[in-house]
Amino acid sequence: MTRAVLKFLPFLIALALIPIFLPGGRLGSYYLTLLILSVSYAVAALGLTILLGYSGQVSLAQAAFFGIGAYAFAVLAAKHDVPFGLSAIAALIITTGFGFLLGLISLRLASHYLALVTIGFQIIVGLVLNNWAIVTGGADGVSNIPRPAYFGIDFSHDHYFYWLSIACLGIASYLVYRLRHSRLGGALLALREDEIAAASNGISLFWTKILAFTASATLGGLGGILYASGSMYISPNVFDFNQSVSFFAMTLVGGQESIVGTTLGAALITFLPEVLRFLHAYYIAVYGALVVIVILFMPQGLYGMLLRGIDALRHMVFRSPAEGAAVPVAAQRQHSLKRPVATNDPILQITGLRKHFGGIKAVDGVDFTICRGDIAVLIGPNGSGKTTALNVLSGVYTATAGSISFNGTDITNRRPAEINRLGITRTFQNIRLFPELTALENVVIGYYPKGTVGLLGTLFARRRGFIEDREAAARARETLRLLGFSRFDIKAKNLPYGQQRVVEIARAIVSGPELLLLDEPAAGMNREETAALSEILYRIHDLGLTILLIEHDMSFVASVATRAYVMDFGQKISEGTVAQVLSDQKVIKAYLGDDAEYA
């Protein structure tokens, strides 16, 4: 809490002091009007920081929420004489409701589909504002919108209203900051980076998307209320598609992931016409070109560029400390590792599992049982259905038929996030880390299902949330160290391949699951890396995890597996110890074909 306040207070104070430096007279009051306008825009653009910057969802409908907030407030306060505070709260609730609705519509959509649905929403809202004249006043809009008077201060004075707006901006910034630096913020980022990996780490895609859309809509509505009350008159043309593009530009140009950047972006785009006034009619063309240049060539926005520049300067002046060297696994803990022993206590039972894609029977009637303490390995030629089976087990695909039971609970066709929470985690054949997040952040997201603090607890800074966040970070560090990894602050996309595997495994085990599914962990590794990987598997096994892995590297399989299952053409053709299945005629035939004796 104090850190957040310390971070934003100087910035807010600087903003609050601006009116003192304005020239007097009409020019000064004109600039003050623009300032009030840009603060209301900034609040709405902060909504896009959450939706676009954090959760990676495109929305070209922010002006619609801005408009819904403004109209709901203005109609209640100006036409029906509802008190200011009550109108504002009602307007926020209404906007949030519409945000929830748009979130519901958009659940399964991404990229251009999502963009177009939001544009459609924007256009429909615009048409309703224009045509539903009984309520909205049609093209004439709503006038005589009141400003509040609280604590004996009359906010109809522009200076006071500006400071009230700054206070709202401060609250909005604080809430966005809280959200970002909590486990929910981690979930939003995970959604942006990789939806499938997010779901497999216990994050509910449904609620996370809804959270992003509603939070963004609420801030849009708050901005709209400030706008309506600030300008005391609204008409539909302010809330059209072009304004949505403007909000988008504010967020992107300023810096989509930065609260300060977004605020500055809003101010920049509001004041740009003043600065470019000497260009006369060319202004909008120049504005369009600037937006294109910044978006294409400065992905972090202007503020991101600025921060980078400062960082580079700092590196030149003070040398950065050398990053911690990786600790070899073997050297880290020297106690002898026992060869794992299997039990007869079933943990996962699969009966008659089928997965068909149209006519292709990828998995066609597979039964197997994995016992607690096993390192079970699933082998088979390419295209035999191993990965499909794993995807059905972890809930990424739904089964066509059959049942899966885990610890006696039926988990067939449950969602990936639910299966994760029951204690089954996984890694992917083509590593699915969150590329733009650091190694540590990746693993912290793995701990997400262990957290208990929800949205309200996060926003109101419940103590428990901070304790849990610290615990998650500590557990993540501990897990990474256990696997011999210490380059915590390197972005996942910049790590070498072998280390990405290690981080992905750490992410899968940090929440303490009972069963770990690994899809070809040794693929693409050299001999040393594979040897280190078997050490890692022993170590994980030591912790009491049961492991099911898919693998092609037979020497690796022979060194770790307690039990092997062989699949071919969607069916299980053999099972037993590694030595048993490798000498099974059916297995040899599957790998080498009918002429095996000549091979």
Binding site: V58, L60, I105, R108, L109, A110, S111, H112, Y113, A115, L116, V117, I119, G120, F121, I123, I124, L127, N130, N131, E195, I196, F241, V245, F248, A249, L252, A281, Y282, I284, A285, Y287, G288, A289, V291, V292, I295, L296, F297, P299, T387, N391, V396, Y397, F428
Partner: protein, 294 residues
């Protein structure tokens, strides 16, 4: 009543043909370079303005001016991709930045043409002088028939070009796998430029055809673009057949809706249909499946 219905159907098919032409551009660009070009509609505006210069300014006959205006629009389109797409084509996850940049480019193009041609709308004459003809008791605006006929011819020519010519095959190869196409000796950068030129040229044709019905203004492209985009999705994004059927569907829905339900909500109907499609059948009529591969 029935006569009115026939008249509306012709009008709807004509407007739908315009959407289909622009939607074809969306689909061609999307399938070949995986970029969604929100400035696609502005090329309709550009084509119409070129036609204004050639027909009203230089007094050329329309049958000379029309192909030239299309080619000029295509040239602007090729230049457009050189500036907007080529610099970032190899950057990972460039989909969103390029899409948003095309929104910015759309603002830019509209303003530039507003500055060149001024805010006063232009009225392009239709190919036939007659305002309306009466066929079997049904009043038909001849330009609507021109639109429908020209669009059908263009679609046939495009299909022949893509399926039957060597250049068309090269374009398809580039669209399906640019890297392999490059290994086969196809000049991918040229093919990309050509794709943009064809797509924007089709957009230009749409603008030229609709200009006699509406007027030529700098903003004429943006609503056409959004509805064409909706058409492409309703038809199934990525499918040429889908773009055409989707365009006609959206044109009819809009025309019937405006007359039978509410004229002031005319622009809402295409989007209501779009949202319903995205909820219940996101892959559209003929389209790609909208899901992620593990």
């Amino acid at each position: 009543m029935f006569v009115e219905f026939i008249q509306l159907t012709i009008a709807g098919l004509a407007v739908g043909s315009i959407y289909a032409l622009v939607a074809l551009g969306f689909v061609l660009i999307y399938t070949s370079v995986n970029v969604v070009n929100f400035a696609q509609g502005d090329f309709a505006m550009i084509g119409a303005y070129f036609m204004v210069s050639l027909v009203l300014g230089a007094h050329w006959p329309w049958w000379v001016a029309l192909p030239l205006a299309m080619v000029l629009t295509g040239a602007v389109g090729a230049l457009f991709q050189l500036v907007l797409y080529q610099p970032v084509r190899n950057r990972p996850r460039n989909f969103l930045p390029v899409m948003i940049a095309t929104v910015g480019a759309s603002v830019f193009l509209e303003q530039v043409f507003l500055l060149i041609y001024g805010p006063v709308p232009f009225q392009l004459p239709g190919i036939f002088k007659a305002q309306s003809v009466k066929i079997d008791g049904v009043f038909v605006y001849p330009q609507y028939l021109v639109i429908i006929v020209v669009t059908s011819v263009m679609v046939t020519v495009l299909n022949w070009f893509l399926e039957r010519t060597k250049l068309g095959k090269q374009l398809q190869a580039t669209a399906q796998d640019a890297d392999t196409a490059r290994l086969m000796g196809i000049r991918v950068a040229r093919m990309t430029a050509l794709i943009f030129a064809i797509s924007t040229g089709l957009g230009g044709l749409a603008g030229i055809l609709i200009a006699p019905v509406y007027t030529v203004t700098a903003g004429m492209g943006s609503t056409i673009a959004l509805k064409a985009f909706a058409s492409a999705i309703v038809g199934g994004f990525g499918s040429i057949k889908g773009a055409i059927v989707g365009g006609l569907t959206i044109g009819l829905v809009e025309t019937y809706g405006a007359t039978y339900i509410s004229g002031s909500y005319r622009d809402a109907f295409p989007f209501i249909v779009l949202i319903l499609f995205l909820i219940f059948r996101p892959s559209g009529l003929f389209g790609e499946k909208v899901s992620q591969k593990v």
